[in-house]
């Protein structure tokens, strides 16, 4: 019997705010322990939380980017549990009235467009960080109260690699929208994975197994690559799966069942009495919607369509948005946008990487790249010389035409001059000349290279080739 996997993801993302969710402590990674804390985020008695308006905006913005509806009424609830990382003994979250519901996320998968439905996106608070020692544990509350958004997908994912691609697409959107930096190294994105398997064609779902606290996308992929065959194996051997929680052990490469406490899931949610409900006004929604950006996938498709770029180039301009914007600033005037893309990606980007600079440091104006392309297309300079001109443009910022003139780099299309170089090349290399006459046509390239060298790269290569060939063939006829 064939089995299929059904996967849903709960993705937690730290929001890009300056301050925490309920207090003015800095939302900043890496500070010494317990230095970004105050009575509110330490859960001391008698304090009142006040919601960070930017966190509410970013959650609504996420809803818009994920094609969700934004309900007219949202509220916060207390989720009660005891754990040392949560000093209040409850986490404030949105239980039954979240900020965003029923959307979808589209991404490229297996050469087509996959659509995963989004159940909801809600706002909550992050918890402290635990450190485990031999005889006790330590807690740092700098992270407690950092705005955390949870994005819940429907169980629309069917494989480990699809889950991985979903997460990457989600991350791209959130980074693009300025919602979160999604820095995995800093723990800004964490994921709970729900996975079950069922015989193909069966409509009811199998027992749901949750893999908790994944902190990397590749970890999610590896855990699913292990867990899906494991579940299938259990069913095939006549076993039964029961709903449970597992943990991914990365070094061992396995998932293992967690000892879940008897009453662990009785959270006794109730409305947070200290926070008033949120009812977005039209003006507020309008303000948030002005922050909606073109989604990465839409941008990629537009670049392919409008500029006839290959998918790889378009993807480069999606990942490196400033570079893509730079390209776009000249692409509309470019006769060949593809040529402009080549210069921007292969030369400009390479030079910036080499010199550790950014677009802000580039000394020449963007249209100079178009001028340079023009010089090559008009036969004014060879494409090899164009590389040198670009290097000069990059270091000094002068216009390509000026550099060509100043350095005397203009291509030599003067037949007499090239004839002279050709004669010299043939005379200096009798071996390859003879090879060509004996039918080894590849020898022509060697001789052409010699002509380019003699002309210091300035000879028109096409012309040099023609003249060489004519001379060598003439030599054959006269028997020289």
């Amino acid at each position: 019997m064939d089995y299929e996997a059904v996967i849903g993801l709960e993705t937690h993302v730290q929001l890009k705010t300056k301050s925490k969710m309920w207090c003015g402590c800095a939302n900043e990674f890496g500070a010494p322990p317990n230095t970004h804390v105050c009575p509110v985020c330490l859960g001391l008695p008698g304090v009142l939380p006040v919601a960070n308006e930017e966190a509410l905006r970013l959650t609504a913005l996420t809803g818009l980017l994920l094609n969700c509806s934004l309900p007219p009424y949202a509220k916060f609830d207390r989720k009660n549990y005891f754990y040392p990382d949560m000093p209040k003994n409850y986490q404030v979250t949105q239980y039954d009235k979240p900020s965003a519901v029923t959307g979808y996320l589209e991404f490229e998968f297996n050469d087509s467009l996959a659509r995963v439905r989004i159940t909801r996106a809600h706002l909550e608070e992050d918890v402290g960080k635990n450190f485990h020692f031999d005889r006790n544990s330590g807690v740092d509350f700098n992270r407690a109260g950092v705005p955390l958004m949870e994005i819940v997908s429907e169980p629309d994912l069917t494989s480990a690699v699809m889950a991985y691609e979903y997460l990457n697409a989600l991350k791209d959107i959130l980074v693009y929208g300025g919602v979160s930096d999604c820095d995995m190294e800093k723990g800004m994105v964490r994921c709970d994975v729900n996975v079950s398997v069922r015989p193909k064609g069966q409509s009811e779902l199998g027992a749901k197994i949750e893999i908790k606290n994944m902190n990397s996308f590749s970890g999610v992929r590896k855990a699913l690559d292990y867990e899906i065959p494991r579940q299938i194996e259990v069913l095939k051997s006549g076993g039964k799966l029961i709903q449970s929680t597992r943990r991914w052990d990365d070094p061992a490469g396995i998932t293992e069942e967690m000892r879940t406490k008897e009453f662990a899931h009785d959270y006794r949610y109730f409305p947070e009495p200290d926070l008033m409900p949120f009812q977005p006004t039209e003006a507020w929604l309008e303000e948030v919607s002005r922050r909606v950006i073109e989604l990465p996938l839409a941008r990629k498709r537009r670049f392919i369509r409008d500029y006839q770029l290959p998918a790889a180039d378009a993807q480069t301009f999606v990942w490196d948005r400033p570079l893509g914007d730079y390209f776009e600033s000249i692409a509309k005037q470019a006769k060949s946008p593809k040529a402009a893309a080549n210069w921007v990606i292969n030369n400009l980007r390479a030079k910036m990487t080499e010199s550790g600079t950014t677009l802000a440091d580039v000394k020449f104006q963007p249209p100079a790249i178009l001028e340079l392309i023009e010089l090559v297309e008009n036969g004014k300079i060879s494409s090899r010389i164009a590389q040198d001109v670009f290097t000069e443009m990059f270091s000094a910022g002068e216009s390509p035409a000026k550099i060509v003139e100043k350095k005397g780099l203009a291509q030599v299309s003067d037949t007499a001059a090239i004839e002279k170089f050709c004669d010299e090349a043939i005379a200096a290399n009798p071996g390859p000349a003879a090879d060509f006459r004996a039918g080894k046509t590849a020898a022509l390239n060697f001789l052409k290279g010699q002509v380019m060298k003699l002309s210091k790269g300035k000879a028109n290569p096409a012309l040099a080739g023609e003249i060489l060939e004519r001379k060598l063939k003439a030599g054959m006829e006269t028997g020289n």
Partner: protein
């Protein structure tokens, strides 16, 4: 009165309270009284009343996203049962 008597052991466990048998008996009776009152409230006809999470007609209470000074570090840790390297030290957490 509620149909089911309150499971006092379960409720005490959720609140991490350890009760003596006498306390269990006393609190079960008291909480039972509270639930009985809730049952009485259920008799009120609320078919025309919108459910609400709050009694105050107040919404959208927010603050600007601005950083304000945190507590002095020493002050924050002053009530810690134990501390080391700037951390609150707690009994070993076992998952």
């Amino acid at each position: 009165m509620p149909s089911d008597p309150i499971d006092i052991k379960y409720v005490a466990h959720l609140a991490r309270l350890s009760l003596t048998p006498e306390e269990e008996q006393k609190l079960a009776a008291q909480l039972g009284g509270v639930l009985g009152y809730i049952e009485k409230l259920k008799e009120v006809d609320v078919s025309g009343v919108e459910p609400t999470a709050h009694a105050f007609p107040l919404v959208n209470v927010t603050r600007a996203d601005e950083v304000r000074p945190s507590m002095p570090h020493e002050e924050a840790l002053r009530n810690a049962p134990a501390q080391a390297n700037g951390l609150f030290i707690v009994p070993k957490i076992v998952e």
